[in-house]
């Protein structure tokens, strides 16, 4: 019963994808839609909504202990078993609820956003397919199943980024996402191999028990300063870097904004990109045994958080700002997961899903209303035209900026505190460094969030008169979703109020705790210090908001002046630290050159073509000579025959007398 319950969550989405895929294909064949948009939206929303309902039912069961799902044998070799197996514990239940819940909301929103698009059915087929793979990824009981989901969501992401594939830049963005992810996935696969070699299993429970029963296997030196556990952790983290857009594999996510905005909200903000964090949290026991890798993860996360948030300060494309914001927030998640605070990471993942999906969908609502305008320099004053979008965007921005009592405050504050406390257990200076990076990133976060709010929704309208006249609030299907997400962004924080504020309200921590590595008994938490840190991070957020208010609401002349004052810094940020250019120069171009000169011109053209052309040439040359004998005159043939016979006879007896 429970097993069927778990299996039906992804299968419902798969059924939806199959039916809609058929509708899309038939429609493309006929050249006109087979079903009306109403029927397609109904079909599209049924699967996810049912999956969400079943997820709630399953999660209730999971509260009292992990629920085992079906096990389907898949790869079974001599001593390797890689079945497709599902399991639900409180950790996967958290993400499962986010995925199916927000997924359903975004399906509803999309019915409004995608109205009138030629690929209406194809869009929902891909979105349903995404949910199938994502729920599979979340429910996976072993690394093999997780990897199938992992690749599947990559496929869905590729299909949806390049959804409007007749625009070449969009098709290329999809390709870029796919290729960059491949880099990480190669490391991920190696990590899975190493896990199997070490633990003899790929099952998460099996890995956990192997870590407990035979820790010496994982402590053995693998390479240099890396133990086996560290090496596994690092390889899997590289895979996570690709999926979750961390330095140096973050370049695909901003480009992924080429897809429809609801896709950006669901796949590239709320769910798929958090899969990397989920992986690290899922293997928190392994990372606990690999402090070196944990430190690397935390440092990469903290650096990415600051790096991406500084880029977001100066971008003018509404979706680009949110994309870099996502990269930055994912950095926060890795920071928490790296220092071992998987609970804090999961909680921020949870709240981030609400407010970032809300921000993206709000942005989608604006873009929809302004007829695909994305430049915030040509917006402004929209709150008068779109009150619901404006208010919900403001709520989500407040949550992103970590202003209490919005949800982001509780979750981000926990990350800042844990990075200082647990990072400090490695080395006090290291904890301080992580905290300082994260604090600087929070200031930037609050700043760019409110820069958006002021530039888009306040001030004078800067769009054309015509656009302003045609701009109106989005349809009910979209605004109702915005309201739900804004409510979540405002209230979700109360699920995990820190102990230092109110005793006994850390429900989320207690819910997800049993599925994570037990916390090492360190020094007791110092509530006074925690409160002080919380106040500092609150002041930082308020500072960021204040600065944005000053620059974009009170003194709009100051921002361009500041940009003119530091032209080089401004250009560096505006050009995103020129990472893409560096990749172009040091990776793409050399790879292209090697491909062209070595593999194409030398190996392919010279060697392979040379051998085949040479053989063909030899045959042709032989033919040219041999055809001289083929005169067509039968008497020539006989003459040759006679001469040859004579030659043979002479060779046999050589002039000697016959026997």
């Amino acid at each position: 019963m429970a097993s069927a319950l778990l299996a039906s969550v992804p299968l419902l989405c798969l059924a939806g994808a199959a039916v809609l895929g058929l509708v899309a294909v038939l429609g493309a064949r006929r050249g006109r839609p087979v079903l009306s948009e109403r029927a397609v939206s109904l079909l599209a929303c049924t699967g996810p909504a049912l999956a969400f309902a079943l997820s709630i039912a399953a999660s209730v069961r999971a509260a009292s202990g992990p629920v085992e799902g079906p096990v389907v044998p898949w790869i079974a070799l001599a001593d390797f078993a890689g079945p497709i197996a599902l399991r639900l514990d409180t950790l996967s239940a958290t993400l499962l609820l986010v995925v199916t819940g927000i997924g359903t909301l975004i399906h509803v929103y999309s019915t409004g956003y995608m109205r009138g698009d030629r690929g209406y059915a194809r869009y929902f087929a891909c979105l349903n397919l995404f949910l199938f793979f994502m729920t599979g990824l979340v429910l996976a009981a072993n690394l093999v199943t997780l990897f199938i989901g992992w690749e599947g969501v990559g496929l869905a992401s590729y299909l949806l980024i390049g959804f409007w594939f007749d625009d070449e830049t969009k098709a290329r963005a999809g390709l870029k996402a796919f290729v960059v992810n491949r880099v990480g996935d190669a490391a991920f696969l190696l990590g899975i191999f190493l896990v199997f070699k070490t633990a003899g299993t790929v099952d998460f429970e099996g890995i956990r028990s192997a870590l407990e029963s035979r820790p010496e296997l994982f402590r053995a030196t693998f390479f240099g300063p890396f133990s086996v556990a560290s090496a596994i952790g690092l390889l899997l983290f590289l895979g996570a870097c690709g999926k979750s857009a961390q330095i140096p594999l973050h370049v695909w996510l901003p480009d992924a904004m080429a897809g429809p905005t609801p896709v950006s909200a669901l796949i590239h903000a709320a769910t798929m990109v958090t899969a990397g964090v989920y992986l690290v949290c899922r293997l928190s026991a392994l990372y606990a045994a690999a402090p070196l890798t944990g430190a690397i993860v935390a440092l990469v996360g903290a650096v990415t958080a600051l790096f991406a948030s500084t880029i977001a300060l100066v971008q003018f494309d509404l979706k680009k700002v949110l994309a870099y914001s996502t990269v930055s927030q994912l950095g926060f998640l890795f920071l928490a997961a790296g220092v071992g605070a998987a609970g804090a990471a999961m909680f921020h993942l949870f709240t981030h899903a609400f407010f970032k999906a809300g921000l993206f969908l709000g942005a989608g609502s604006v873009i929809h209303a302004l007829n695909h305008e994305q430049d915030i320099r040509r917006m402004g004053g929209l709150r008068w035209k779109m009150p619901v979008t404006g208010l919900t965007f403001l709520f989500c921005a407040l949550a992103l900026s970590a202003i209490p009592p919005f949800s982001g405050f509780f979750s981000k504050d926990a990350i800042l505190w844990e990075s200082l406390r647990r990072g400090g257990e490695i080395a006090p200076a290291f904890g301080l460094l992580l905290w300082a990076l994260a604090l600087a990133a929070s200031v930037c976060t609050a700043f760019y969030a409110f820069r958006l709010v002021f530039l888009v929704f306040y001030g004078r309208p800067r769009c054309s008169e015509d656009a302003w006249q045609h701009c109106r609030e989005s349809p009910r299907a979209m605004t109702s979703v915005l309201v739900v997400l804004a409510a979540g962004a405002a209230l979700a924080g109360f699920l995990n109020v820190p102990e230092s504020l109110v005793h006994g309200l850390d429900r989320f921590g207690r819910w997800v705790g049993p599925a994570l590595a037990p916390e090492a008994a360190g020094e007791p938490e110092n509530h006074a210090v925690e409160l002080a840190i919380g106040i500092v991070s609150l002041l930082a957020a308020l500072g960021g908001v204040g600065l944005a208010t000053l620059l974009y609401a009170k003194r709009p002349d100051l921002a361009p002046a500041l940009a003119a004052r530091f032209p080089r810094l401004h250009r560096l940020l505006a050009e995103k630290y020129r990472v893409d250019e560096a990749y172009e120069r040091f990776v793409t171009k050399p790879a292209w050159a090697i491909g062209d000169r070595v593999f194409f011109r030398l190996i392919d053209r010279r060697i392979i073509d040379g051998v085949t052309d040479g053989l063909a040439g030899a045959a042709r040359g032989a033919g040219v000579i041999l055809r001289l004998f083929q005169t067509g005159a039968v008497q020539t043939y006989v003459a040759i025959l006679v001469l040859a016979a004579a030659a043979v006879l002479y060779a046999m007896w050589g002039g000697a007398s016959p026997p």
Partner: protein, 109 residues
Amino acid sequence: MGTLAVAAAVGAPLYLAVAGALFSIGVLGFLLRKNLIVVFMSVEIMLNAVNLALLTVARFYVRTVDAHVLVFLVMALAAAETAVGLSIVIAVFRLKRSVSANDLTTMNG
């Protein structure tokens, strides 16, 4: 004196020499003459030269009758082959208005 006695008196080498001479005439005729009918006749001469050589060897050295049987088979086959060959020649003549080997080189490479 019966034929066998004559043969015994003449001896195998002379028979073989005659066979060789006939064969050479056949080869030369085949190679040098252009008229297809004469070419055919040359083939027949070669066949009979070989028959003669075979019988000689059988009669003087091996002393069995197997070769005699074989020779009759060859003669029968040669007759059939001539019939087919001549009809081909006639067909060729109808097509080309010529029976010269020089005019039949359409199979050149």
